[in-house]
């Protein structure tokens, strides 16, 4: 286990924040079949074990995001709601947070979304998205990643963060959804 250590970017002087380059990763890409897995899948009311394969029999937006409560997760679900993605197609999230944390998140945002819980990061690792967060020893996080799947779990569009922090481009996702769903 253990992702390679990120390298600190050369930041021009006068810029007082650091963006970190993440190392190259062998992650799931466009044209791949999204690997199947089973994890608790949380909705606004309850959770139960679900296989991705059982959940995906229609176009699906699969979102890997940092722990619930991190601003990256909050911004992501704000984007889901603002762009109405869950009205266009099935939206499934995944993070290493517990089902209880997912339920709290879904009480506030992510209308119509369901979220897989992967505390051991086994799915995160299988998708090649794992990375370590400095100062949170023992926690394996996921890079932010977006996979647009057709009903056969084929990856039609993929975006994986290559910097930390980095946000997906909502307009690009809009376009990808339009191409797949229309």
């Amino acid at each position: 286990m253990g992702a390679a250590q990120p390298t600190r970017k050369e930041v021009p002087e006068m810029v007082d924040f650091d963006v970190v380059d993440l190392p190259e990763a062998d992650h799931v890409e466009e044209g791949d079949t999204a690997p199947d897995f089973t994890r608790p899948l949380v909705n606004a009311e309850y959770w139960e074990d679900s296989a991705l394969d059982d959940a995906v029999d229609e176009p699906t937006l699969l979102l890997f995001h940092p722990m619930d409560g991190a601003f990256q997760a909050t911004y992501l679900y704000n984007a889901v709601d603002e762009h109405g993605w869950a009205d266009d197609l099935q939206v499934l999230g995944l993070s290493i947070s517990s089902p209880y944390a997912h339920k709290r998140l879904l009480a506030e945002r992510g209308e119509g979304v369901r979220i897989f819980s992967d505390p051991g990061a086994g799915v995160v690792e299988e998708y090649g998205l794992d990375h370590d967060i400095d100062g949170m020893t023992g926690i394996t996080e996921t890079r932010p990643a977006v996979f647009l799947l057709d009903g056969d779990r084929t990856v039609d569009y993929a975006w994986v963060a290559s910097e930390h922090p980095e946000f997906p481009d909502a307009e690009e996702i809009d376009d990808a959804i339009d191409r797949l769903v229309d």
Binding site: Y46, W47, K103
Partner: protein
């Protein structure tokens, strides 16, 4: 995946729920677990399904039965799937009515 016959609404670490699980396992019944929150106010799905917010609650698709309260559920499972269902109730009597 085929849908399991029985859906069990349960709480993590709820001994009454574990009792139902033991009974389901004893009779080899396929079930899926739906976990809800400890707070009663957070259990609308259970109320919608069973009419009450208490767990455990089961839905048996084979018989169309929905039921709450672990003692009732265990009695139902034994009566429907246990030896008592096929031998006129002698096995359940012998166990002291568990």
């Amino acid at each position: 995946m085929t849908e399991p016959q029985i859906t069990l609404y349960r709480l993590q670490a709820c001994p009454f729920c574990e009792r139902v699980v033991r009974t389901l396992d004893r009779f080899g019944l396929e079930y899926r677990s739906r976990y809800v929150e400890p707070m009663h106010s957070e259990r609308n799905v259970v109320k919608r399904v069973s009419g009450a917010r208490s767990v455990p609650a089961i839905v048996d698709r084979e018989t169309g039965v929905t039921m709450s309260e672990s003692a009732n559920i265990v009695e139902y499972l034994e009566g429907t799937y246990g030896d008592a269902a096929t031998d006129g109730g002698r096995a359940a009597d012998a166990e002291g009515g568990a």
